[in-house]
């Protein structure tokens, strides 16, 4: 009797566990499926909130419209360019800065001072307005470089990479020094080749960061034609503050503001993430333990 009771209890517990976790998983996927369904539905059906998880009145017109919308195409292109340039700059900074910081204080005098110089801005910032004014003083308003330079030095990634480099056996670099190699050569042909896993992870951090970032474009760039995709979407999908827009802009947005069109744009903006999701997941999880200090 007792045994039977326990096993039915366990069964109920097991099944409810499966159902509950299944629902949680569904709650994270269904919004994406809903967006996909709306994007393929007719304008009328999506406007009347009739669409749930399958398209109603199947249409690809929203996508045709997105792909012929000059603002969308242009901002998509700017975002792709930003990811390429921004990631390259970030990773250059990560490798060239982490290397000296990973040396022993005897070899790189003043190491701790430099580490703190890199680390301190993570603890204390000038805040929004002084940073904005400095970008403006440097003449970067409306420039593509306002999306790259203010965050060109990824402090967090540098600390992670520094800790990773410190784990590389000294004998490897010493062997290279004896053969007459300089620091740049050692970085290029000893450190970087054996750090590919860490570099891949930090590169993906930079890629996703640049793809998703919208606020810099929002405050530093007034010209809508120079916005990256996420900044364009911010204004397109969520127009709560319309002060920066001209009446003409407002008109276009009103005209464009049908739901299936919005959904199609959201979905297209998600595609790069979804496409690389298996890599992203693996490397981002690896990144969680990458920078830990080894005793």
């Amino acid at each position: 009797m007792m045994v039977e009771d326990a096993s039915t209890g366990a069964k109920i517990w097991n099944n409810s566990l499966y159902i509950f976790l299944g629902l949680l998983a569904a709650s994270c996927i269904l919004p994406v499926i809903h967006v996909l369904a709306v994007s393929f539905s007719s304008k009328a059906a999506s406007a009347a909130n009739l669409v749930r998880f399958t398209p109603v009145g199947f249409h690809t017109r929203a996508y045709q419209k997105v792909l012929t919308s000059p603002l969308f195409i242009r901002s998509f292109g700017i975002s792709v360019l930003r990811v390429l340039v921004g990631t390259a700059v970030n990773m250059f900074m990560v490798s060239i800065t982490s290397y000296p910081l990973s040396k022993e204080p005897g070899e790189f005098k003043g190491r701790l001072f430099f580490v703190w110089l890199i680390f301190f801005p993570m603890l204390f910032t000038g805040g929004l307005i002084p940073t904005y004014l400095q970008v403006r003083n440097l003449g970067l308003i409306d420039s593509f470089w306002s999306l790259i330079l203010p965050t060109a030095v990824p402090m967090f990634s540098i600390i992670i990479m520094m800790n990773f480099f410190r784990g590389i056996p000294k004998s490897l670099s010493e062997a290279a020094y004896i053969e007459g190699a300089g620091h740049l050569t050692v970085l290029r042909s000893v450190y970087l080749p054996i750090s590919t896993a860490a570099i891949a992870t930090l590169t993906l951090f930079a890629v996703v960061g640049h793809w998703n970032e919208w606020f810099q474009g929002f405050i530093y760039i007034n010209d809508t034609e120079r916005w990256p995709l996420q900044t364009y979407l911010r204004q397109m999908l969520l127009p709560t503050t319309l002060q920066n827009l001209t009446l003409e802009d407002l008109d276009t947005m009103q005209y464009l503001s049908d739901k299936n069109f919005k959904a199609a744009q959201i979905f297209i903006a998600m595609i790069p993430i979804l496409l690389f999701y298996p890599f992203l997941q693996r490397y981002f999880i690896a990144g969680l333990t990458l920078g830990s200090v080894k005793e």
């Binding site: 499966y18 994270c28 800065t97 929004l128 970032e213 996420q230």
Partner: protein, 316 residues
């Protein structure tokens, strides 16, 4: 030995020579630091200096150093502003709500996932719940502004299960904070659980075996073995999250709030943005920002020091 041979040259000369030798071999290390230092000075350290405009009446023409000084005028102005206190209250409530409930949700999820025996199903669940972590708040906001609207799919569902009136999640002061906290949990509970899952994976299986022999059920094992084993991780992360008490999540609030919910949803960062960049009151806005920077600095350093002392936590 070397030192003794050169003693005649004089101590200072030796030091200089040593330094010269050292620099010829290692000067590239300093050159390598230059690009990052130049950029950090331009975009981080000069803005820190720019904080002085909180004590000035900033005029763009005169820049950071030439504007007239006004002492603490902006700070006393803020003390008289009824909005300012409300904004701080909103920030702390939303931020603490997010920290508490997100942490609890992640721990609970990790514990439940650990109970799951089917490996494949476990993998599917993990893949699904990590996904929202990778989307920007613009994308998530764009989706949920629609889902949470009066006729949106979530209100349709609530009506189907018997609710009479639709809930105005984003347009009423009653629900706005809760909605923000709820969405944050949705976005981060899965990702936040990874670190607890890793801690659970490190628990010795022997503990569970002996507990099972003693007749402990699965609930008992979770409470008496799993939870205490991951407690150090929980305490460490909770300590480090103290630094976020004034971070209510600017991007999320900024993309989803509106004038109707300023009373409960306006936070320090959105306030700074509005008075600074929309109303161009640079000095006043910088004063508010400085308040946040200083308090956050104290909290972050304090929590790191605590974690360093108690858990030997080290960043570098």
């Amino acid at each position: 030995m070397l030192l003794r041979c050169h003693r005649s040259v004089g101590q200072a000369g030796i030091r200089l020579k040593k330094l010269k030798n050292y620099m010829t071999g290692n000067y590239p290390l300093y050159l390598m630091m230059i690009p990052a230092l130049v950029l950090l000075v331009l975009f981080n350290y000069v803005p820190m200096y720019g904080i002085i405009i909180a004590f000035q009446d900033y005029m763009p023409l005169y820049g950071f150093s030439g504007s007239p000084w006004v002492g603490l005028r902006w700070f006393s102005y803020l003390l008289d502003m009824p909005d300012a206190l409300q904004v701080i209250v909103n920030t702390v409530i939303i931020a603490i709500g997010k920290i508490l409930f997100s942490t609890a949700a992640s721990i609970l999820f990790a514990l439940l996932l650990n109970e799951l025996r089917g490996k494949k199903f476990k993998k599917i669940v993990q893949t699904a719940v990590y996904l929202p972590h990778f989307f920007s708040w613009v994308i998530i906001g764009g989706i949920f502004v629609d889902l949470l609207s009066l006729n949106g799919i979530i209100n349709q569902f609530l009506q189907w299960i018997g609710l009479q009136k639709p809930v105005f999640f984003l347009g009423s002061n009653r629900y706005f904070r809760g909605t923000m906290i709820g969405l944050e949990i949705w976005k981060s509970f899965g990702w936040g659980a990874i670190i607890y899952l890793a801690a659970i994976a490190n628990i010795s299986p022997n503990l569970y075996e002996s507990a099972a022999i003693d007749g402990a059920g699965r609930l008992r094992q979770a409470v008496s073995i799993t939870l205490p084993s991951i407690l150090p991780t929980i305490i460490l992360l909770a300590t480090l999250s103290l630094g976020n008490v004034l971070n209510a999540g600017f991007e999320q609030i900024f993309v989803m709030y509106n004038e109707v919910v300023y009373e409960t949803g306006d936070i320090i960062d959105t306030f700074v943005y509005r008075i600074g960049l929309e109303n161009a009151q640079f000095s006043l806005s910088t004063a508010v920002g400085l308040f946040k920077s200083v308090v956050s600095f104290v909290l972050i350093t304090g929590s790191y020091l605590f974690a360093y002392k108690r858990a030997n936590y080290r960043i570098f």
